[in-house]
Amino acid sequence: MEQILRIENIEKYYGSKSSLTKAIDDISFAVQKGEFTAIMGASGSGKTTLLNCISTIDRVTAGHIYLENTDITTLKGRELNSFRREKLGFIFQDFNLLDTLTAYENIALALSIQKKPAKEIDKAVKHVAEQLGITEVLEKYPYQMSGGQKQRVASARAIVTSPELVLADEPTGALDSKAAKMLLERFRYLNTECGATIMMVTHDSFTASYAGRVIFIKDGKIFNEINRGSDSRKQFFDRIIDVVTLLGGDVSDAL
């Protein structure tokens, strides 16, 4: 399978010389096209920093990140914007929808800043809305929607541009369990049926169990990595719990 993301020995330091914090301490791994990867870790383990570095929102201190053989750590200014616009899709914990725009316009915005013609935009938005089951809320404003609907609209916005990589930061963090389950089912559908490559950061084992592969991070280093293989989701969940137990108290608290 084609390799889409390659991370080589990245490091990220915060603070000054006297009190140095290594948020990421020499992490390397690769993601194949069509993979659904979860990154797990306790608060402060460095998982969000990792995601920020991949999404070019933050810069690495050392190391390289290659997306489709482009070293994104060397991109600057306009290149960064166009990279984000064309290659990446974002899903955030707090949805990050524009409250003044309807669901339809929020999704369309991702395409219109790529300067796609209005006709094409309309087709793409309706298509992705169907995939995520939000056709009936398209004309509503964020304040008129439930949390689950908002997150699915945000997901639709993330994938409507057919990005190489969808990055999700705690996507279920602000959802109740029913809405979370529904959203994750949609993620799995997008992954298996539409071939979307998804990388998701979470501290919730249940959420992680929907992925095909889980990378555990502790104190800025990769602690463990497990693949689902042919296991059922339940079996995979149990294996994740085992690792989490090994990881220590922090994460199990979050369960």
Binding site: S55, I57, G77, R78, N81, S82, F83, R84, R85, E86, L88, F90, F92, N96, L98, D99, T100, L101, E105, A108, L109, A110, L111, S112, I113, K115, P117, A118, I121, D122, Y141, P142, Y143, R157
Partner: protein, 691 residues
């Protein structure tokens, strides 16, 4: 501790305070500059009559200052309330930490004091600097000598400014304390978290209201700008009220329709950040309908006030050169009745001689002539068969006024003195002189029909199909309603009424001119006194002849019109400047706070990859729309308003209105445009990516 908190608060929210501070600064300095004018003018060596005018101007400016203080006070209360709202979460934090409301009030009090003292101090400094520039304008307006001028500070104006602003800040403090005492912790903590509710107005209702108010506005425009029938105070007030209401309704309906109109253009709407931009604009306008209407009206008043003020002043100066071609004029009238209706002719030169004075003593050149009044020739009979039609249109004219008649040779002598070409006409012709534009309109209607005029039993025809520009008496403005010039042969001395003596002083310099003026006036007074002593009186002490005479001098007219010109210019500038900074400040504050509220939106736009260039462009469109929309309507209002003003002010003459409009536009561009630029660049700073 409290002091430290206050200082660091101000430093931290400098961004929010910048516009507030800037506005206070301008407010204080403008206030000082205009209150210091009296002191500055008194330093220049002005004539006695000019000094009287300076007192008048100083008084007028102090009265207007009270109004200005009111406007600025409202602005400051508005701005401080606005800044308070931005800090609800901060207050919530203080309260959860257990700080009492009294302490929070104390922090705010300190902040207001610090801002107040700083703005007063720097504002006064700026004002003192600016007022030196102002004195150049004062000197220019009064045509005074600047050589005696030195740097000056008006203690009076400083005290006044400090007192007025101290009172304003006190009001703000009271207001803040009241607001704090009403705080509820839960509301403070939740403020800013509630997402905006978008309510689209009923589009049909919007279109109906838009069309309706546009129609009413159009009718109002017609009434004020083109149809002056039965124009009176009630009609003017009604028009202004209609304009105000329709302005509000127009903004209200445009706010509702704008987005729908833009959304219907799908290709534009879904291009780049347009959807976002239009939504932002629409929500901004929706929440600011009232303030936009107020700002639009204030801009309208500013534009009209400034343009009229400049134009009156410009025309007055132009008028003086044209309408005062000689130095001194004596108009001598005598009547046999108390109501001054039956004239008795008396010769001025004879009068002077009888009383032992030489009228020509001080004059290099002069003309002496008299006019005639034929009691059967009134404005009414002049208009002939057009009288009823014209009376229906102009019911306020006095149609029984007896027309003034002058002999051609006398008028030509006067023209020679005034340095103009003489008139010519045949024995059966007459010429009508006038320079008051609406009377010219009335008379031309008759003259174009070639109607004849009966004078002293002779039938005369006008040589020209319209009035000829001209006058006998010198004046500061165009007030000649009509004089009929007749051939010398038909003049009947039995109808001679008032006698004129108009001359030019035998003076070589300005100083000599002023000296002669004094002497001539004194001579006239002495002559009048001697004349009244010599007159005959009836048994009840009533004179047999009532004297009604007056003098007109170029210097008096000039001083008067300079004074009126200066007064109008100062008042226009004062009110205009204050209104402009108020408009600018309100818009800027609103726009900046919107930008702060929208920071997360811009962060999100960047995350999904919007170009920095597109974001700046969106911001420019938003700010531009917000500033231009009220200005646009204000300009349309002003176009009609100025048409009306030209009509009302026609007595001053407003032909050269282009230059006035240009000056107004420059001031508008400078201040309003300045606020726009500051707002735009501040907004850019606010939404800028923070690393």
């Amino acid at each position: 501790m409290l002091c430290k908190l206050s200082v660091s608060n101000i430093r931290r929210s400098l961004r929010d305070y910048a516009i507030y501070f800037f506005t206070l600064l301008i407010g204080v300095s403008v206030f000082y500059v205009f209150n210091a004018i009296g002191g500055q003018a008194s330093m220049m060596e002005l004539g006695e009559s000019k000094n009287e005018i300076v007192v008048l101007i100083t008084n007028a400016l102090s009265y207007v200052s009270i109004f200005v203080a009111g406007v600025l006070g409202l602005l400051i209360v508005y701005a401080s309330r606005f800044l308070m709202k931005r800090r609800n979460r901060e207050f919530a934090l203080y309260m959860t930490l257990g700080m009492s409301k009294g302490k929070i009030s104390a922090i705010l009090l300190l902040e207001t004091v610090i801002i107040g003292v700083l703005s007063l101090g720097t504002g006064l400094l700026l004002g003192i600097g600016l007022s030196q520039l102002m004195s150049a304008l004062v000197a220019h307006l009064f045509e005074a000598d600047m050589s005696a001028y030195r740097f000056m500070i008006s203690g009076n104006a400083i005290v006044k400014t400090v007192i007025f602003f101290a009172v304003m800040y006190l009001v703000v403090m009271v207001f803040n304390s009241v607001m704090i005492s009403r705080f509820k912790l839960i509301d403070l903590m939740q403020s800013g978290k509630k997402s905006e509710q978008i309510k689209l107005k009923n589009p049909v209702l919007c279109v109906i209201i838009f069309l309706l108010s546009a129609a009413v506005l159009g009718y109002t425009y017609y009434q004020v700008g083109w149809n002056y029938d039965g124009l009176n105070r009630t009609k003017c007030l009604l028009s202004f009220a209609a304009g105000t209401v329709t302005t509000f309704l127009l903004f209200w309906s445009v706010a509702g329709m704008l987005l729908r109109v833009m959304m219907s253009a799908k290709n534009t709407y879904f291009r780049s950040l347009n959807a976002f931009t239009f939504r932002q604009i629409s929500s901004k306008i929706n929440t600011a309908v009232l303030s936009m209407s107020v700002i639009c009206l204030m801009l309208f008043i500013t534009i009209c006030t400034l343009t009229s003020a400049f134009s009156i002043r410009n025309s007055m100066n132009a008028n003086l050169r044209e309408l005062c071609p000689a130095d001194f004029e004596i108009e001598w009238g005598a009547y046999s009745d108390k109501e001054l209706e039956t004239p008795v002719f008396e010769d001025i030169v004879e009068k002077y001689e009888i009383n032992g004075f030489d009228i020509n003593e001080y004059f290099r050149e002069s003309v002496h002539f008299h006019i005639y009044e034929d009691s059967s020739l009134t404005l009414g009979t002049f208009l002939g068969n057009q009288l009823e039609a014209i009376r229906a249109e102009f019911p306020f004219l006095r149609y029984d006024t007896v027309e003034t008649v002058v002999r051609l040779s006398d008028y030509n002598k006067l023209l020679q003195l005034y340095g103009k070409e003489p008139l010519e006409m045949n024995a059966d012709e007459c010429i009508i002189l006038a320079n008051y534009s609406s009377m010219i309109d009335v008379r031309n209607r008759v003259l174009s029909l070639n109607q004849s005029v009966e004078v002293f039993g002779h039938t005369l025809h006008s040589r020209y199909p319209g009035c000829v520009d001209g006058f006998i008496s010198m004046s500061g403005s165009r007030t000649n309603l009509g004089i009929i010039v007749i051939p010398d042969e038909i003049a009947d001395e039995r109808f001679a009424s008032r006698d004129y003596f108009i001359g030019r002083y035998a003076a070589e310099s300005e100083e000599q001119n002023a000296e002669i003026e004094k002497a001539v006036k004194k001579q006239f007074d002495l002559m009048l006194r001697a004349d009244s002593d010599y007159r005959e009186y009836t048994a009840d002490g009533e004179p047999t002849v009532y004297n009604w005479s007056m003098t007109t001098s170029k210097i008096d007219i000039c001083d008067d019109s300079i004074g009126i010109g200066a007064l109008i210019t100062f008042l226009g500038l004062y009110i205009g400047l204050i209104f402009l900074i108020s408009c600018g400040a309100v818009l800027a504050l609103k726009e900046l706070s919107e930008s702060v509220d929208s920071i997360p939106r811009y962060v999100m736009l960047r995350k999904i990859g919007a170009e920095e260039k597109e974001i700046t462009k969106s911001l420019l469109i938003q700010t531009g729309f917000f500033f231009l929309l009220p200005l646009l309507l204000a300009c349309i209002h002003s176009a009609v308003g100025m048409k009306f003003a030209v009509y009302v002010l026609s007595v001053f003459g407003t032909e050269d209105i282009g230059a006035s409009i240009l000056s107004t536009s420059l001031i508008l561009l400078l201040i309003y445009g300045g606020y726009f630029l500051i707002t735009y660049s501040c907004s850019k700073g606010i939404v800028k990516e923070r690393k």
